[in-house]
Symmetry: C2
Subunit: 603 residues, 2 copies
Amino acid sequence: MSSSELLLSRRDLAFLLHDWLDVTRLTERPRYAEHSRETFDAVLDLAARVAAERFAPHNRAADTSEPTVDSGRVRTIPQVKAALDAFADTGLFAATLDESVGGMQLPHAVAAAAFAWFQAANVGTSAYPFLTLGNANLLLAHGSPEQVDTWVRPMVEGRFFGTMCLSEPQAGSSLADLTTRAEPQDDGTYRITGTKMWISAGDHELAENIVHLVLARIPGGPPGVQGLSLFVVPKVLLDDDGALGPRNDVVLVGLNHKLGYRGATNTLLNFGEGVHRPYGRAGAVGYLVGQPHRGLALMFHMMNEARIGIGAGATALGYTGYLKSVAYARQRPQGRPVTDKDPTTPQVPIVAHPDVRRMLLAQKSYVEGALALVLYCGRLLDEEKTAPAEADRERAHLLLELLTPIAKSWPSQWCLAANDLAIQVHGGYGYTRDYDVEQHWRDNRLNAIHEGTHGIQALDLLGRKVTMRDGAALELLLEAMRATVDRAWKADGFAADLAGRLGTAVDRIAVVTRRLWATGDPELALANASVYLEAVGHVVIAWLWLEQVLAVDASKSPADEFSAGKRAAARYFYRWELPKVGPQFDLLESLDRTTLDMRESWF
Amino acid sequence: MSSSELLLSRRDLAFLLHDWLDVTRLTERPRYAEHSRETFDAVLDLAARVAAERFAPHNRAADTSEPTVDSGRVRTIPQVKAALDAFADTGLFAATLDESVGGMQLPHAVAAAAFAWFQAANVGTSAYPFLTLGNANLLLAHGSPEQVDTWVRPMVEGRFFGTMCLSEPQAGSSLADLTTRAEPQDDGTYRITGTKMWISAGDHELAENIVHLVLARIPGGPPGVQGLSLFVVPKVLLDDDGALGPRNDVVLVGLNHKLGYRGATNTLLNFGEGVHRPYGRAGAVGYLVGQPHRGLALMFHMMNEARIGIGAGATALGYTGYLKSVAYARQRPQGRPVTDKDPTTPQVPIVAHPDVRRMLLAQKSYVEGALALVLYCGRLLDEEKTAPAEADRERAHLLLELLTPIAKSWPSQWCLAANDLAIQVHGGYGYTRDYDVEQHWRDNRLNAIHEGTHGIQALDLLGRKVTMRDGAALELLLEAMRATVDRAWKADGFAADLAGRLGTAVDRIAVVTRRLWATGDPELALANASVYLEAVGHVVIAWLWLEQVLAVDASKSPADEFSAGKRAAARYFYRWELPKVGPQFDLLESLDRTTLDMRESWF
């Protein structure tokens, strides 16, 4: 077995991208006309190979020997730089970007699948290109032509890396409370002063330069999020000809020492502390992106894709843990069937025990369900950007808005649960650092926190996305799910049985959502938003499992073992997982006030 | 706030031990006649102080600087030895043991509460006395008077430490497959050869000697677990006068490097490798405990108490994480109520957000519910050993047999979930090693694995405990729960409401258990044993929450904030948690075959 086979399943990706999402049809559109199934497959094969050969081997070393600071300079084990150079050679820094800047113009669904190989192999090292891609993407959409030339091109080439600088020590979830200042200068630039916390890839020597995208306030603007503007603040300023010039006044205060994701630096940065004095004056030089006071909207352009990318990373960690625990369960002998009381018979591999199969089936249903969700979101992004009809683009946009908090949160929760089960399948060995699964579990724990916590995603879903445009986005989702139910009714008994269960759950989403907002009391409606997020997430995954069942039924090999595995995982999800939403919807429908009524002094 | 206030709640312990379990009544019995409420409280106060002053301060250091091996000798940071010396000074190595060997004869419920302070403060360092206490307890019950004199007395004094050596590299859950051999010698001793894996506290220089309790086979015995015998195998042999003599042939092969619990060594040991040749011959000298081929039954004497102790440790880790996240939530300002759209108002502490209160209430309901369970089991142990009437001792024995897998598994699952929520409450800070909660989460992950995995506990509950003596143990549990329901019916509206919900769940246990065993097919009945374990566990905790509500109602201060907190947590558990058992019982009742029918080749 090549090591890439323990990262993701090439067969599952082919199934999802081709048999289900039919990404090759996208090549009929002008943007993707240069592509074909062959180019898509070649990209996936390349990603699998480079991930296995260059990213996976140092995953443990990057965790054990995390970056350190030596005289203000960050030291990283050399394998990280070598891996990122190999990544740059694949051209994938340019995956989805426009040809005009040297991009590959890959569909997002394909690019997400390609990148997932790297996330599965080494989520820490993958953080550098992850942030760089998001940064480049934002600047390409919203930067001036000059900014694109100056900053995006070197990022596409893998020479500069990017960051996003939102949080401050006193303000993470509450962006309204950011205090970093941006003073306008006569030459049109700004001088930035403030402290940014939790900045991933915030300092290192893995690239020639670091392009920070920083949220800050121009004095005189409105308070709260309406007064935030977005700036490019490079670590090293450039000369007029684009060559590296003086150090900008961006200072590494310290590295955060984390539970996981240790291979990627996570930093506390001071802007404008006066340590460096570019052009003879204190303050970090920043360049405004877009209009003043529109920073948050622009940043959300990056953050929405980043959130789906976080979900993809969580999925990839869950997926590799699943594959490793299947491999372990097949080769580890232990015990006998409960009906065999003869201790002289040989031990059986643990996959023979139903409880181990439970733990493997649960993982399979979580990770393959999550992968379907993040690739579906990638496909929606492609629709949003390239569907010929305006109405289709709008539909994709709305669905994507609604699904983004789910695509971020559901994999972060359930693929972490998958990693927990992967440890359990390994028994005592899984608790040691000799096996990969404990690190996947630690790494994955971050995903429910960064880029907006679970609770923030819940408020986003129920407080913003469900209500936007009079509920139009939710209506589209319910329609899409009901259309699947209708198709499945006409299929064989198995799919029809699932359809009945899904239909009931879909109806409950509609009823419960109306009931919550009929209160006219946002505090009450939103009090249990996390439960709503989790319940709707489970129904969405159930929907995508039914979609997968219909796709295997319609595939060229509906009777093979891959198809049987898909049906078994769907059955598992519908019998073991979907029923969990019943009590959740009951709780929401009861407008439960337990958390609202709890007083601080009672803890 | 003293640091012990972030470990456990002294008030909650007083409530559970006195207001609820009325442990002072035990002093009416001869065994506990020397004790009083004052001596119990003094022990708890002493434990809280020593745990906070000597165990908690090096919890992080012991994790960061885990033990290493240098020329075959284990090096441990000096704080561990200092803490264990302080522990020995408390006298708690002798907590529950007989006065005849220098023991304190504390009730188990009180001793468990006292020891929980150390587990909360530093579960790694606590592993040494944990294993020593279990070992001494077993030998006191089953060893010869000479063995008690030789091995138990030095353990009571904290001079020797103990271990339990069951697992081997090829056999962990499957004890039937142990292969370590014990060859009888002419002098009545045995020579032991074999390899033991996952031996906690298996080597160190923290005590003068290490007393291993080893399961091994005497040649000619029956295969499987029926052929296992138990031996004392000391690291260092003793001269006839009890002084340390030659090294026994027990060799440290290596330390396991774990995800958590890092302060305690976990070892691979070779017995009889020939490195040491005591009395001129290879083979580790062992002394038979009890009868040949009765080893497993004896070891279970230790293991049953150890399993409840594991549950107590899981609870303690959950409890301290809960208290730390409450403290954090009270002082961390972030954001505003959802109804306050004015960004110029001050930020509120995060405990003001309902979603944060949800995470705190969930933790409270888990950790206080788990603590009630493990102390209840301690109380049952006291009944089993000292109840004046034979029938009461038998009742306690049966209930304890049934509750042991639940007391081991439920806290391991749900107090880990509590630690996960504690991280989430801390946000990004919780993901760093600057805060304690990430370590608690890592440490706690072991508890579902060691001393019998979750799946093993599930088979024990449904396959053995539920069916023992024609279901007598389960019948006793159902009776006990129904008695609480009856008492609560007569109480106020709140308790009566909970009683109705609990009564329904209790009835379902009875129906579902009958249905599973009515199949006459053990493979089918046991296929989903883990779900059964989890569902019954949730009902048991719900029962103990109702017990707590009745106890606060009957207490001297039913209207204070502590009582209000208990009622709120009970309400949370009944509205948010107990309903989860509905789909679990449905699944069990349907005799679901999903995991049974899954084929290995479909993964």
